[in-house]
C-alpha cells in the first residue's frame, strides 16, 4: 500500500451549510475508507483560510469558487499557485433584506404582497426615492471581495439599473450578518446558509431571492490545493477528491440531506439549530415568518445525474474571471493573459474519475 494511505491531511473549511460534503465524508468515514486520515479545521475568515493554505498549514480547503483565481493572480497579497481539481457545490446563496427595507419597497411600489423572487427594479424605486430625498444610501453586505456572493449582489443590483454609486457595499463576517441586519448597520446581504434562514427565523429579515434566481447553476465552493501539494502527493489529492465526490453523491437523497443537517448542526460544526440548516438542503427557501417557503430544488446542489456538477470546467472559471473583471478587481489585460486551465483543473478531475 502506498505510504500516502497513512498520511494525515488537514482540510480547512468555513462553517456553512455547504461544508456538508466535508462533514459527511468525515463523519461517515469516507475519508478513512479511501485510506486518508483527515483532520477538519474550521476557519473564522476566508483571509486566514487562504493564508494558511498558501503557507502549507492547511493541505487543502473548502474555498469560495473565485478564490483560487484570486490567489493565482496575486490579487490580495503574494501570488500563489492554488488550483482546484473538484467543485464541491453549486448555488446556495440568497439575498435577505431587513424588514424595514422590505416594508419601504412594498410602500414605494404599492405592493400588497410579496412578488418573489424580488425584482431589483422594485428596490431601484426605493434607491431613487432616497436619492431624491437626500436620505442615507442603502448599505448591503457580502462576505468576501472574491466571492460569488459579492458578484451576485452586484449583478442583481445592476439588473434593476441600480448604480453602485447609489448604494454602499461592505464586507461583514457571516457570523455578524444577522446582528448587523437587526441593529440597522446594514440593510441587506448576500450570503450562504444558514445565515439567510437564521435571519428569517429570528424575524429580522425577508429572504427575497436565491442565487439560483440570479445566476444559472454555477460553482460556489471548490476544493483548493496548492499545485506543489498535488505534484508532491498526487495520490492524496486523488483520494480526497474520491471521498468528497462520494459524499456529494450520498447527499443526493432527501433523507440523507436531513441526516447531513443533523450532522452539521453539531457543536463541532455549525452549532446551529436544524431548522435553519435543513431548509436549503431540502430545496426550500424560507422567506418570512408566516409565509410558505419557496421551492428551490437546486438551492444547495452537490451532485447531479444530469450535469457534471463536480467538474471544474473552464467555462465556469471564465464566467468568474469575467465577473472579477467587470467589478474592477482586475484589468482586461490581466484577464486576457490568465491561463485558467492551470487553475480549474478539469484534466485532473477527469483523470481521477475516468479510471
Amino acid at each position: 500500500m502506498n505510504s500516502d494511505a497513512s498520511m494525515p491531511v488537514t482540510l480547512g473549511y468555513v462553517a456553512l451549510t455547504d461544508s456538508a460534503p466535508l462533514v459527511v465524508a468525515k463523519e461517515l468515514g469516507f475519508f478513512t475508507e479511501h485510506g486518508l486520515n483527515v483532520t477538519l479545521q474550521a476557519q473564522h475568515s476566508w483571509s486566514t483560510l487562504r493564508d494558511k493554505l498558501h503557507a502549507g498549514v492547511l493541505d487543502a480547503a473548502h474555498m469560495l469558487a473565485p478564490m483560487p483565481i484570486a490567489s493565482a493572480l496575486g490579487l490580495a497579497g503574494p501570488a500563489c499557485d492554488v488550483m482546484t481539481p473538484l467543485v464541491l457545490s453549486q448555488n446556495g446563496n440568497a439575498i435577505t433584506l431587513s424588514n424595514a427595507v422590505y416594508d419601504e419597497i412594498a410602500a414605494t411600489n404599492d405592493f400588497s404582497d410579496l412578488h418573489l423572487p424580488l425584482s431589483a427594479n422594485a428596490l431601484g424605486a426605493v434607491v431613487a426615492q432616497r436619492r431624491k430625498q437626500h436620505r442615507a444610501k442603502l448599505r448591503f453586505a457580502s462576505v468576501f471581495p472574491y466571492s460569488c456572493h459579492y458578484y451576485q449582489l452586484v449583478d442583481w443590483l445592476a439588473s434593476g439599473q441600480i448604480s453602485l454609486d447609489d448604494v454602499e457595499l461592505v464586507i461583514v463576517p457571516p457570523t455578524n450578518m444577522v446582528d448587523a441586519l437587526h441593529c440597522g448597520d446594514i440593510d441587506g446581504y448576500c450570503v450562504g446558509g444558514p445565515w439567510n434562514a437564521k435571519a428569517v427565523r429570528a424575524g429580522f429579515g425577508v429572504t427575497v431571492l436565491t442565487s439560483c434566481d440570479i445566476w444559472p447553476n454555477s460553482a460556489e465552493k471548490v476544493l483548493g490545493v496548492l499545485s506543489q501539494y498535488h505534484q508532491r502527493y498526487p495520490e492524496r489529492v486523488t483520494k480526497l477528491c474520491r471521498a468528497l465526490k462520494q459524499a456529494c453523491c450520498w447527499l443526493e437523497t432527501i433523507p440523507n440531506r436531513f441526516e447531513s443537517a443533523r450532522l452539521l448542526s453539531g457543536y463541532d460544526y455549525l452549532d446551529a439549530p436544524i431548522d435553519v440548516i435543513a431548509p436549503s438542503l431540502i430545496g426550500s427557501c424560507v422567506v418570512k415568518p408566516g409565509l410558505s417557503p419557496r421551492e428551490i430544488p437546486d438551492y444547495n446542489l452537490f451532485f447531479s445525474e444530469h450535469a457534471d456538477v463536480n467538474a471544474p470546467s473552464l467555462q465556469c472559471a471564465q464566467w468568474l474571471l469575467a465577473k472579477m473583471e467587470s467589478t474592477g478587481q482586475l484589468s482586461k489585460v490581466v484577464a486576457s493573459e490568465v491561463d485558467l486551465s492551470r487553475i480549474y483543473r478539469s484534466d485532473i478531475y477527469h483523470q481521477i474519475f475516468s479510471s
Binding site: S47, C80, I171, D185
Partner: protein, 220 residues
C-alpha cells in the same frame, strides 16, 4: 506571537508616508482588536511611553469599518483568528475606507510558516512575543515597510499612468494625421493649443478627440 502582513492593505497614511525617520517623535495610533484581554493588556503595556497610542476594542466586528473611520488608526493589530480579518481584507477592494497596515497576533505554532509564506510578498515581519522592545521594533518595521511599499506602489502607478497617457496622445496624434492630413508636429501643436484654450491636460484632450474622431469615423 504575531506577524505582520501589510501587503494587501493599502494607502491611507499620508502621515505615515512621511515618517522616514524612525526616531521621529510623531505619534501613531494603533487600533487593537483582540478578545484576549490578558494579551491586549500586555501589548498595551509594552507600548507605554512610546510614540504609539493604543485604542483597544474587544469584539469589534460589526462596527469595525465605522471604528476604523472614526479612530483613523495608523496601524491595525488583530488576532489572526478573528472573523473581522475579511473586513480588513476588503478595505482597498470594495470599500472607500482608506486601507491601513495590519499586524496580526497569533498564538499558533504555525506563525513562522505563515510568515515565511507572507514574506514572499511585498512585506512581512515575524515576531516573538509581547516583550516591549520586540513589540516596538516590530511596529517600527511595519510602519517603515508599509511606507516603503506605498512609495513603490505610487511610483508604479505613476509610471503606468504616464505610459497610458503617452499612448493615448500618440493615438490621437496618428488619427489627426490620418484624418486631417496634418504632420506630427502640427497634430501635437493643435492638441496642445486646445488643451491650453480649455485649461485641460493634453491627455484629456487626446481622449476626447479619439472618442469624437472614432465616432465620426463610425458614422461614415
Amino acid at each position: 506571537m504575531f506577524c505582520f502582513v501589510p501587503s494587501r492593505f493599502y494607502v491611507c497614511l499620508a502621515t505615515l508616508l512621511h515618517v522616514d525617520d524612525m526616531n521621529s517623535p510623531s505619534r501613531l495610533s494603533i487600533l487593537l482588536i483582540d478578545d484576549n484581554h490578558a494579551r491586549a493588556q500586555a501589548f498595551t503595556a509594552a507600548l507605554v511611553e512610546s510614540r504609539y497610542h493604543v485604542t483597544h476594542l474587544s469584539s469589534a466586528t460589526q462596527r469595525l469599518l465605522k471604528d476604523v473611520d472614526r479612530i483613523q488608526p495608523d496601524i491595525i493589530v488583530i488576532d489572526i483568528e478573528s472573523p473581522s480579518r475579511d473586513v480588513l481584507d476588503s478595505l482597498h477592494t470594495i470599500s472607500s475606507v482608506a486601507p491601513k497596515p495590519v499586524v496580526m497576533f497569533s498564538d499558533e505554532e504555525d506563525t513562522d510558516i505563515i510568515n515565511q509564506s507572507v514574506r514572499s510578498g511585498v512585506t512581512a515581519y515575524v515576531v516573538g512575543d509581547t516583550e516591549p522592545k520586540r513589540v516596538r521594533s516590530i511596529l517600527d518595521a511595519a510602519v517603515a515597510r508599509f511606507g516603503e511599499y506605498q512609495r513603490l506602489r505610487q511610483e508604479l502607478d505613476e509610471t503606468k499612468h504616464a505610459l497610458a497617457a503617452k499612448q493615448t496622445i500618440d493615438k490621437a496624434k496618428r488619427l489627426l494625421m490620418q484624418q486631417r492630413g496634418m504632420d506630427e508636429q502640427q497634430a501635437y501643436s493643435a492638441m496642445r493649443k486646445m488643451a491650453m484654450d480649455v485649461g485641460q491636460k493634453i491627455e484629456d484632450i487626446a481622449r476626447t478627440l479619439l472618442s469624437v474622431l472614432n465616432h465620426l469615423d463610425n458614422g461614415k
